[in-house]
Symmetry: C2
Subunit: 251 residues, 2 copies
């Protein structure tokens, strides 16, 4: 079955402008261009557009969607499973919001007391997104999309409390790393503790921890200036120190 641009736009519930933009962007090309210059879409494009819209619904930026779908490792089945997981997480967040409104209604009637923090329960999307973008994006580029999509779903389902725990863990990791760095020995007890904390930190993002992935990431910290910059904010040379410590830890 073939579609012109408006037919496809109509069934998908989007504008023709969007489809043209996606073509221009290289995200979704038509199957062919007919003799009159019109875009013609087929079954394959329908399925690809569906995937795009799922990712879009989950807030994934278009350039990332493009990367994911273009990867030779892309697995449709796995992607669908991860959409399911992410959508369920999103529903949980929505339930938090619904619960928040219900509580706010009660508070406004004087039936309960609500803290200012509670009033924003469920509105942590941006913080989560930002955090994922800071840490997850780089990982996504290095590892299979399937794994990263599952990680994304996992992060999305974090409660605010878990998120705060992650923040604490991050702070503790950075402190420990700094102290170990000042000692100067990647094999020291303190350095190995930092590595343990780093592993724990990673398990907030990764479903399946593996030593080789950990080492690979550590090497990336040194190779990629953005990561180097992040750790070298703690102290200059800290990214390399962490890599050296992790080489020992993961042996």
């Amino acid at each position: 079955m073939e579609y012109t641009i408006s037919r496809l736009a109509e069934i998908a519930g989007i504008s023709t402008r969007t489809l043209r933009y996606y073509d221009e962007f290289g995200l979704l090309s038509p199957a062919r261009i007919s003799s009159n210059g019109y875009r013609i879409y087929s079954q394959k494009e329908v399925d690809r557009l569906q995937q795009i819209l799922f990712y879009r619904e989950l807030g994934v930026p278009l350039d990332e969607i493009k990367k994911i779908l273009s990867s030779k490792d892309f697995d449709r089945q796995a992607a669908l499973e991860s959409h399911l997981s992410a959508l369920r997480a999103k529903r949980k967040q929505l339930d938090l919001l619904i619960s928040n409104v219900e509580k706010t209604i009660k508070a406004s009637r004087g039936e309960i007391i609500m803290s200012d923090q509670e009033k924003f329960e469920g509105f942590i999307q941006k913080l989560i997104d930002d955090n994922e973008r800071k840490y997850g994006e780089e990982a996504r580029e290095k590892y299979s999309n399937e794994s990263v999509d599952r990680s994304y779903a996992k992060l999305k389902s974090m409660s605010k409390e878990q998120y705060e725990e992650l923040e604490k863990l991050t702070a503790e990791l950075n402190e420990t790393l700094k102290a170990a760095f000042e000692q100067g020995d990647p094999g020291s007890e303190l350095a190995q503790k930092a590595c343990e904390l780093h592993k724990k930190w990673l398990c907030y993002f990764w479903d399946d921890y593996s030593k080789e992935a950990h080492i690979g990431l550590a090497q990336m910290y040194v190779d990629d200036p953005r990561f180097t910059a992040y750790y070298d904010k703690i102290a200059a040379g800290c990214a390399e120190f962490l890599r050296d410590a992790l080489l020992i830890y993961c042996k």
Copy 2:
């Protein structure tokens, strides 16, 4: 309790940039500016920000949020009730999406057959938004925000099938109106049928129909060039004809 900008941003899960933007935009001003020039927010601002974030979560553009919250008719309790209603509607849409993924997974395994239309079930947000914007926005300006917010929630909860029914009804209304207009008599049976259809059409948007609201809207069709343009696409003079017919219908 008072907050500096970063404290408020933190508990709300948004950026300080967002708060500054909202200040500049006139959406959320601080309670006061301290002697050192810093923005200081209080309880009232906390509650207002919560409202803003609920509307934002529901996809309401900032300028509309501003209008709603600035209206002297704004009723916090009613707004919270409408957020609840809208969030529940949004949850329903999310359920549709989840169901869609589940079905797509089965289809990809060859367990079921799925039409191309079904593959986009739940992705009708944009169409609904556009439709609401086209028809609902004008009504919002004229009638109480409470009523419109409920209408918004009602439209949001429409299934795709209901939406298609609405499209059919719109087409039928336009045809009938055209035929009646060609007859030239606002009191004719056909013209009164068009009015009946128009009422039916409105009840997709309005919880509470009233004759005076209907007449008011009809007058607006003539007064506002955007509405006049819409109906005069059917035939020049059609907006006035519809008003005249409705004046008779609503008597």
